[in-house]
């Protein structure tokens, strides 16, 4: 981030060094609680970001690469965090006044928020840590203020020692955003500050003696930059620069407001600046800074979007693609003359969408009229805008109508209803009803942000994720996100049990002397349940299905799951009131005599590194009723954090689970193309796959387990350096100490020892390789638990038998493994399993990714067929009357055979080799409702029911 400064950085490093030392000191006692304690002493970082209504979205990133660099520099393994704050309400001006300002604002927020924390404060045990912490804090306060003065890396090469020179900078400005932030900001700095993000204080200029020049009246010297503003993001405007012209119009302090106010809409403007001398900048700190700046990876667009930074650029990129969301009132007051009053909310303001806005009369009329004509509410329309086909989805609630227009090339009609249903449910979870979401004026900026994310994810998801190539098809996310289920990762039973125990401990709210009971108070919240994600996979869930889906929809919408898997979260704290749909509707299945307590519900999401825990809290009912808009309570947040830290000890096991191929082995599509010679195939086996089809090998050679195992051992030997490389800088450096020190030159023996020590002290399962070199060659003894029937199936097999079975697990029949991909959804619990991202990535190949895309696209169609033929039981259909029977009758199974050819087949003489494969979907109602989607090679006829059966019970065990 541009706002990161050397001063700040060194401060962080310092305090971190301290923290690490403490960690080392008390590490042997292995209590992860201790590490959370010093957070209690301090006011947590996120306090500032709590909104007036108590909501909090605090995201702090720690990215592995930067960490690695830092570790290299400081030979110190600890968390480096990149603090960036996201707050719509408060612009943090980074100038001399920063600290005082911040402190004062913190005080303001304090009393309301820290009820319990304050009570606890009295009781807190005295500790040196507090002192040391305060010390470091004091240091941080006294350290030079964070300054963005002339530290832009791009700056240095071009800039030389000229005393003054002109430069040009292009920035995106979006006046529309101005409507949203609170007005007071504009009072002081006017548009210059609000729109551009440049702080100019005429008074200061007057006071300062300018050394180089005779200051002319009205010069626009940059005295400060506002974080997240266009000015700071362009990276070329520095404090001390003088703004001379905007789009070649000369500006002074007199006319600047007028000039800026003439900018009609989101646009790019050229600023001409006079930059000051670069020479007098402090020299010594810089070599490391530059190094750091280079190394620090760009923060992904997704994170910037979540931080609420200006989204104009992203929006502009899709400005030509028509898309819109409108909330329209069906009650038209003809007496009122005000124009466009029926539009209660609208996003975005682009040109293509204004065309759709212009024809809102069509949507209103159709919604009004068609119900009487065809006997049903309108669901969708398709309209043609020039060459773009746009599908418009409708959702009527009371007297208002939500209209969502999406380009057909992104969202096929088949999945439109699911997409609209999901967004409506997400909004209802967040705001209770659509009316309360859209009709409150102050929600507008948040809704803008909400829908910006929504459209970006659908229209250009590749912009949000680093490294993913632009692909016009979003079927994968459409299908998987559209399932009424969450992606589940099966863990080995020991780990699963420990995870569950830790979660249950937390949910019992027995916080010891931190709990309200201790003080004889009524509880603030009852913990209804929680669920735990590891790298975007659900690994434990103690929530009822509907609540789980609500929580998951929220996470999906804000991309929290991919975030936690791609980037390590420094800290994520989200707190907001939610309206779980099942509970809001009164919980249909309640036993007689039982009524749902009328309480308010709050969602607390805390993420640390790769773990993320979502907790659903209830106020009222058993707990004390919540008043007004309570913010997050530090104690609860800290308790979740403590739980996560405790769980981190188990992370090694989870990571190992991710690294090892899962029960049904997969094959790569490319292996089946005749073009690939045997040698290619072997190569790709050796290089790419911990996941090569074991069973193929095992079976072909001999069915005995021992043979298979030795093969397996060899493999893990081979792949371990890879693994350690890929994991470098992240939590578990498995093989660093023992196997491949040469491969990770950055880690000194000391750090390796530290690893070992720390990990041991954490008391983790110990099944991983860090204990000694012997561990490396141990076959990870994976006992794949049945994902769904943990309790009912007792293992009676001897270990040897299990292992043998493991080596021959195969979903498909025949001698060769022909399985490419699968998705199994368990409807009752709302979870699904599919091969992990890593497994898929390891298969590599050129055709395989295509195949998976195709699989997902086809699954959309298959699932649509299932849905249409089913009575409405699905979550989306919950609010709608039952669909009438489908012409073809209930569909049980549906399959499609595809043929693929290698791309760019140049050989004219021979026809391109082809490979055919099936994509089959099967709906099972007995013994438990399941949907099973599978993709396999054409060579062996399969019976999907059997495959599903094998996957969910028997052989896949």
């Amino acid at each position: 981030m541009a706002s990161e400064s050397p001063g700040r950085c060194s401060k962080n490093t310092l305090s971190r060094a301290q923290r690490a030392k403490e960690d080392g000191d008390n590490g042997s006692t292995s209590s992860s609680f201790s590490s959370s304690d010093y957070n209690d002493d301090l006011e947590p970082e996120w306090l500032d970001d709590i909104q007036k209504n108590g909501e909090l979205f605090y995201l702090e990133l720690s990215d592995g690469e930067e960490e690695a660099t830092l570790a290299q520099v400081t030979a110190n393994q600890c968390l480096s965090t990149n603090h960036v704050r996201f707050s719509e309400k408060e612009a943090e001006v980074i100038t001399e006044q920063t600290n005082t300002q911040r402190r004062s604002s913190r005080k303001k927020g304090e009393p309301a928020l820290k009820k319990l924390a304050r009570i606890l404060g009295r009781k807190r045990r005295p500790s040196q840590r507090k002192g040391s912490k305060d010390g470091s804090r004091g240091k941080s306060n006294s350290s030079p203020p964070a300054s963005i003065l002339k530290h832009q890396p791009g700056q240095r090469q071009g800039m030389t020692v000229h005393r003054r020179r002109l430069k040009e900078a292009c920035v995106y400005l979006n006046p529309k955003r101005l409507a949203s932030p609170p007005a007071p900001l504009c009072d002081r700095g006017g548009l210059l500050e609000a729109l551009l993000g440049v702080v100019h204080r005429p008074a200061w200029t007057a006071g300062q003696k300018d050394q180089w020049e005779v200051r002319t009246e009205g010069r626009l010297t940059v005295h400060g930059l506002i974080p997240n503003s266009p000015a700071i993001k362009c990276g070329q405007i520095l404090i001390g620069d003088v703004l001379l012209a905007v789009d070649d119009v000369d500006v002074t302090s007199e006319n600047i407001e007028r000039v800026l106010s003439c900018i009609p809409g989101p646009t790019q403007v050229k600023l001409t600046l006079e930059t000051a001398d670069l020479d007098h900048r402090g020299g010594p700190s810089d070599s490391s800074t530059v190094h750091k700046m280079k190394a620090s990876p760009p923060v992904s667009q997704l994170v910037r979007l979540l931080w609420g930074e200006d989204t104009a650029e992203l929006q502009m990129a899709i400005g030509h693609i028509p898309h819109i969301v409108m909330y329209l009132s069906l009650k038209l007051d003809s007496t009122s003359l005000q124009e466009e009053e029926e539009i209660l909310y609208q996003y975005p303001m682009s040109e293509a969408s204004s065309q759709l806005k212009g024809v809102r009369g069509i949507f209103l009329t159709l919604c009004d009229m068609l119900e009487n004509v065809t006997g049903g509410q309108i669901i969708s329309s398709s309209v043609l805008l020039g060459k773009h086909l746009v599908h418009v989805g409708y959702w009527k609630e009371h007297n208002n109508l939500l209209v969502v227009g999406l380009p057909a090339e992104r969202v096929p009609l088949l999945s439109l209803q699911t997409v609209v249903g999901d967004v409506v449910r997400t909004l209802k979870v967040m705001y209770g009803t659509l009316d309360s979401a859209f009709c409150m004026v102050d929600h507008a900026p948040r809704l803008d942000h909400f829908f910006c994310l929504f459209f970006q994810q659908l229209i250009q998801p590749w912009r949000l994720r680093e490294g993913s190539p632009p692909s016009p098809v979003v079927s994968g996310s459409l299908f998987l996100d559209g399932l009424p289920a969450v992606r589940w990762l099966t863990l080995p039973p020991e780990i699963k049990m420990e995870v569950d125990t830790v979660l249950s401990d937390f949910e019992s709210s027995d916080f010891g002397e931190m709990s309200e009971d201790f003080f004889g108070l009524r509880r603030l919240y009852v913990i209804l349940g929680s669920c735990l994600f590891y790298k975007s996979y659900l690994i434990a869930n103690h929530l009822p299905k509907e609540d789980l889906l609500d929580v998951c929809l929220y996470c999906q919408h804000f991309c929290l799951l991919p975030l936690a898997s791609e980037q390590r979260l420094g800290q994520l704290v989200i707190w907001r009131e939610v309206f779980p749909q099942q509970r809001a509707s009164g919980g249909g299945s309640a036993a007689p005599g039982f009524t749902q307590p009328k309480g308010r519900h709050f969602l607390l999401i805390v993420g640390l590194r790769h773990l993320m825990q979502c907790v659903l809290l209830e106020a009222g009912g058993c707990a004390s009723p919540a008043l007004a808009a309570p913010g997050p309570d530090c104690v609860y947040v800290d308790q979740v954090k403590a739980t996560l830290l405790q769980l981190e000890a188990l992370e090694a096991g989870m990571e190992e689970r991710l690294n090892v191929p899962s029960a049904p082995c997969l094959s790569c599509a490319d292996w089946f193309l005749p073009a690939a010679t045997t040698r290619d195939r072997l190569d790709s086996l050796a290089s790419s796959s911990p996941v090569f089809s074991k069973l193929a090998g095992a079976i072909r050679r001999s069915p005995s387990g021992s043979r298979g195992r030795s093969l397996f051992g060899e493999r893990s030997h081979k792949s371990s350096p890879q693994r350690s490389l890929s994991d470098s800088g992240s939590e578990v450096q498995m093989d660093v100490g023992s196997a491949a020190p040469g491969l990770s030159p950055n880690s000194t023996p000391d750090s390796a020892r530290r690893h070992g020590g720390r990990r041991d002290s954490l008391g983790s399962g110990g099944s991983d390789g860090s204990g000694g070199s012997g561990g490396l060659f141990k076959t990870p003894r994976m006992k794949h638990p049945n994902p769904f029937y943990l309790g009912t199936l007792k293992k009676t097999l001897t270990e040897r038998e299990t292992e043998e079975m493991y080596n021959t697990i195969k979903l498909t029949s025949g001698t060769e493994n022909t399985l490419f991909h699968y998705v199994l959804m368990e409807t009752v619990q709302g979870i699904f399993i599919a091969p992990t991202h890593r497994e898929v990535a390891q298969l590599s190949g050129s055709i395989h990714p295509q195949l998976i895309r195709n699989f997902h696209h086809c699954c959309l169609s298959i699932r649509a067929a299932f849905q249409q033929s089913l009575p409405a039981r699905d979550r989306r259909a919950a609010d709608r009357p039952q669909r009438s029977g489908w012409g073809l009758g209930p569909v049980k199974e549906h399959g499609v055979l595809f043929q693929c050819k290698p791309e760019n087949w140049t050989d004219q003489r021979k026809p391109a080799p082809t490979m055919t494969y099936w994509v089959i979907g099967r709906m099972l109602l007995e013994p438990v409702p399941q949907e099973f989607y599978v993709c396999f090679h054409d060579s062996v006829p399969e019976v999907p029911v059997e495959m599903a059966f094998r996957l969910s019970f028997g052989l896949a065990f």
């Binding site: 024809v359 004509v373 065809t374 669901i379 012409g887 199974e893 006829p941």
Partner: protein, 433 residues
Amino acid sequence: MMMLEDGCIQLLCLTASSGVPLFTRGASKQLPFSVIGSLNGVHMFGGGQGVLLSCCETEGGGKVVWRVFHDSVMLIAVSRGGSSGGCSKEEEIRLQRLLENVWHCMVLVLGQDELVNLRNVERLKRDLRSCFCLIDQLLEEKQQGVLGNLTHCADSLLPPNPTLLQEAVDGFAQAADSEFGCLFVHGRIAVATEKWWRLAPQEVVLLSALVRTLSASGSASCDYPVFLPQGSPTVAHRLLRFQLLPGADVCVLCGPTPSLHRAESELVGQLWSPLVETLRSCLSVGERSLPGSVPLRPDVLALLLINRETRRSVSCVQLSSYHLLSDPSLSKSRCWELLKLFYIFSMSRYFTQEETLCVSAEDGAQGGHTEDFLHGFSHQPQQCYLVTEECKSYGLQTPRHQLFLLMLPSVPTFALRTVATQTLSDIISATAF
């Protein structure tokens, strides 16, 4: 209050520029004028703003589809879902097809000039009445075993001895000074001259529909002026039709000569009377469309085979007592319905439809977008199957053919593919279709 009954389609026709209703067909109860006006109004309003409304879906499978032809005539189809309706996408395709067919039907009868240059609306209204029986036939689809309206492939019947009949048709056409001659048996094309097959597939389908309505009227012969929507939309030809036997009709497209009387008295008797026995054997093929020499597995309920090159199709339902034993609820009409639905299902999602030539460029933009889903596939779909409660369906596509099969639920799923490929090769080898 519902304005439409279950599963029924109402067709509205208005002038595109002024919105004057030309006719409505379909439902027993006509939609109120205000509704017709609004349906037309929203489309016109959108058109003015550069937003072209093409279709709408409501809960329960209701659908509205708009389409403007040649900037002069607006056709709107409103369907109220219900039990027989397909799912949204399927229904939409069916309605789009319907609108296309209705338009071409109007051109066939009235010629394009009269429709495009609207001079006298009242007269046009009167003239359009002559299309009603053809349009009603399209709307009701009551004739079983005719899928051409949907597939845009000529429904054919494969006669047991085609060479004899082919010679007869060629000779008859030549004698009538025409290159376009065709023999219909049970409303399906048995043989036709080479030129007849060169007509646009949609014209062949429409002419077949016209001949069916004409022969249903019971007259022994008739002389009907037709415009060919693609070949000659502005110049009329004469369609001469003669009933040879009940269920067997021969027709030619010709110019001013010969007169109906001359052709009937001189040519028909002379050329066709020697072939009565052959015609009878042809009639006995009946609804099966396939000669008895082609074996069909007993568990096949229905099949539709399309030749993608010649744009001909063969379809049949074989519902024997054997089938009724296993599922007495299955009726013949239900089988046809299922076959149609499965065809639309497969075509809308997986298989490619050859471009029908009759759609002009401007209209193509409106109609062609329905296949957006198909473009999302990175690999080419080849075959598909569907297991439902009533039957198992299998579709497969080769470069030359498309085959859609309904089979008994008792057929094991893994055997479907074998049955389908076997059936395809059986038919092809026996008839060279």
